[in-house]
């Protein structure tokens, strides 16, 4: 018996830092909406951080990925680097002109901005964000 069961190569892995600020939660909500739109599939960054082999190996081997960090602290990026996961398309929400704060009433326009940036990053192989953190922000974005 044969099924067409295997994951298509074009399935895009979406990883969000989902951190404790507006920009962190914007990555989370954008990842949810990208998944609902069929752009890709949100995957569990915490599983990679926890070094669970299924998550780590999946991230290492997936052909297409978009990683979303809320701020320049780059927690998602750091987790991927520690797990030796090659980072492909990448965005940092604060680099899109959205200021970091603790207001969790997320703005629909900001969510759309992150969703659009993720799509553009994937399409163009864009890497939006600094390579190094500046340490100016106080918590995981």
């Amino acid at each position: 018996m044969s099924h067409e069961c295997c994951t298509p190569d074009e399935n895009i892995m979406i990883l969000a830092c989902s951190g404790g600020s507006n920009v962190g939660q914007l990555t989370n909500q954008a990842a949810v909406e990208l998944t609902q739109q069929g752009f890709g599939k949100m995957f569990c960054l915490a599983g990679i951080g926890g070094q669970l082999s299924g998550f780590v190996q999946s991230a290492r081997e997936v052909p297409q990925m978009v990683a979303l960090d809320g701020c320049s602290l780059g927690c998602a990026k750091a987790i991927l680097e520690q797990a030796s996961v090659p980072i492909k398309s990448y965005i940092v929400v604060t680099e899109l002109g959205i200021e970091k704060n603790k207001n969790f009433n997320l703005n629909g326009e900001d969510i759309r901005k992150v969703v659009d940036a993720a799509k553009a990053a994937r399409q163009d192989g864009v890497y939006v964000g600094k390579d190094t953190t500046d340490g100016a922000e106080s918590c995981c974005g």
Binding site: C5, T7, M13, G47, S53, S58, A59
Partner: protein
């Protein structure tokens, strides 16, 4: 040694299972090879896709057919 091949049963999954069995035979190691087709059980391994190969509880490969040589490198001590 406990080896699991995760995948509901497509051609890639079957080829993966064949490669694993061949690798076990070539390496001459004692191992049980079990095919896992239940999607909930597969989800429990946290893999993004299938086929996937698990050796003694550690996921070694996801979303591709590993070569016989790859599998041998995982099972030969």
């Amino acid at each position: 040694m406990d080896i699991k091949v995760l995948g509901p049963g497509c051609r890639k999954c079957q080829q993966t299972e064949n490669n694993v069995k061949e690798a076990v035979a070539e390496a001459g190691v004692e191992a049980s090879v079990k095919k896992i087709t239940d999607t909930m059980e597969i989800a429990g391994y946290g893999v993004f896709g299938t086929p996937a190969v698990v050796v003694d509880g550690e996921v070694k490969s996801v979303g591709k057919i590993p070569s016989i040589e790859d599998v041998k490198s995982w099972i030969q001590k």
